[in-house]
């Protein structure tokens, strides 16, 4: 009864989960969703070297959660919204399953009476 609507390779999945397992990287994703930012602007936010932040961005890039574009001397980090939106859509569908379960719980409690 399981049908896959969209296939990600095992390597994709590993990259995404490795990428999001780190608090700093989750924070970077949250910031660039709000608006794109240069690597140097991001680096100012964290108590770590520019090179360390650049490494975090590279991990996110490998997982296709962000992309980097060059703008003159700056590297601008953009969120890959399509991929993040996909995760959102999937959670929406799972939410429906629990909405139905909760509806059934409520009807059973109603039937039982106070």
């Amino acid at each position: 009864m399981v049908t896959r609507t969209h296939e990600l390779s095992d390597a994709d999945v590993d990259a995404i989960f490795h990428a999001l397992a780190d608090r700093t990287r989750r924070d970077i994703v949250a910031r660039v969703i709000e608006r794109e930012q240069s690597v140097s602007a991001l680096a100012e936010r964290y108590a770590m070297s520019f090179a360390a932040v650049q490494k975090h961005v590279a991990v996110l890039q490998k997982a296709a959660l962000v992309r980097k574009e060059r703008d003159g001397r700056q590297q601008i980090v953009h969120a890959e919204l399509e991929r993040l939106r996909r995760a959102q859509q999937l959670l929406d569908r799972y939410e429906q399953l629990w909405r139905h379960r909760v509806d059934r719980i409520a009807s059973i409690l109603d039937e039982e009476g106070p």
């Binding site: 009864m1 399981v2 049908t3 896959r4 609507t5 969209h6 296939e7 990600l8 095992d10 994709d12 999945v13 995404i16 989960f17 999001l20 989750r26 994703v29 949250a30 993040l84 996909r86 995760a87 959102q88 859509q89 999937l90 959670l91 929406d92 569908r93 799972y94 939410e95 429906q96 399953l97 629990w98 909405r99 139905h100 379960r101 909760v102 509806d103 059934r104 719980i105 409520a106 059973i108 409690l109 109603d110 039982e112 106070p114």
Partner: protein, 163 residues
């Protein structure tokens, strides 16, 4: 019943589902603790669930299967990771292979259910589901979508039956 809040965290891959029921905590707990009550709501009407093992203690196993309209059997299992009756239940929730044993290639979701009294007659239930990967969420969401459709179909049938 009111759905109070639904939060979806797309980076941590969690779903938090908060609902309020017009019944005291003990009665809502019975819907999880009594397998005959649990099977009345766990599966959709078209896929009723049968719980064949139900050990509600830490490390305990819960086994169930759902039977589809064409007789198809879909098995599942829980491993209870923590329980504090009647307030909290945590479990890993997975799919079973044909022999009833945990399916090695199917996703396992971790669920934590918390029941809190709103007042003497009402209970707030918070469910937090954590998904191990986006791929597992793809599989589970596909099932959820199917369930949504089944639900819609059975409701349509009921309306049609009324003429």
């Amino acid at each position: 019943m009111t759905v109070i809040d639904v939060q979806k965290d797309t980076t941590a891959l969690t779903l938090t589902f908060v609902a309020e029921f017009d019944a005291p905590v003990d009665r809502v707990w019975q819907l999880w603790a009594d397998p005959r009550k649990l099977e009345r709501w766990w599966g959709p009407p078209e896929w009723p669930a049968t719980f064949t093992r139900h050990e509600l203690h830490e490390g305990g196993t819960v086994n169930y299967h759902m039977t589809g309209p064409d007789g198809t059997i879909a098995g599942g299992w829980w491993t209870v990771t923590a329980v504090d009756a009647p307030r909290m239940l945590a479990f890993d929730d997975g799919f079973a292979a044909d022999d009833g044993q945990p399916h090695p290639d199917m996703p396992v979701t971790h669920a934590v259910v918390t029941l809190e009294p709103v007042d003497e007659r009402r209970t707030c239930q918070t469910l937090v589901s954590t998904f191990p990967s986006l791929e597992s969420l793809e599989e589970l969401a596909a099932m959820g979508m199917e369930e949504g459709m089944r639900q819609a179909m059975s409701q349509a049938d009921a309306i049609l039956a009324e003429g």
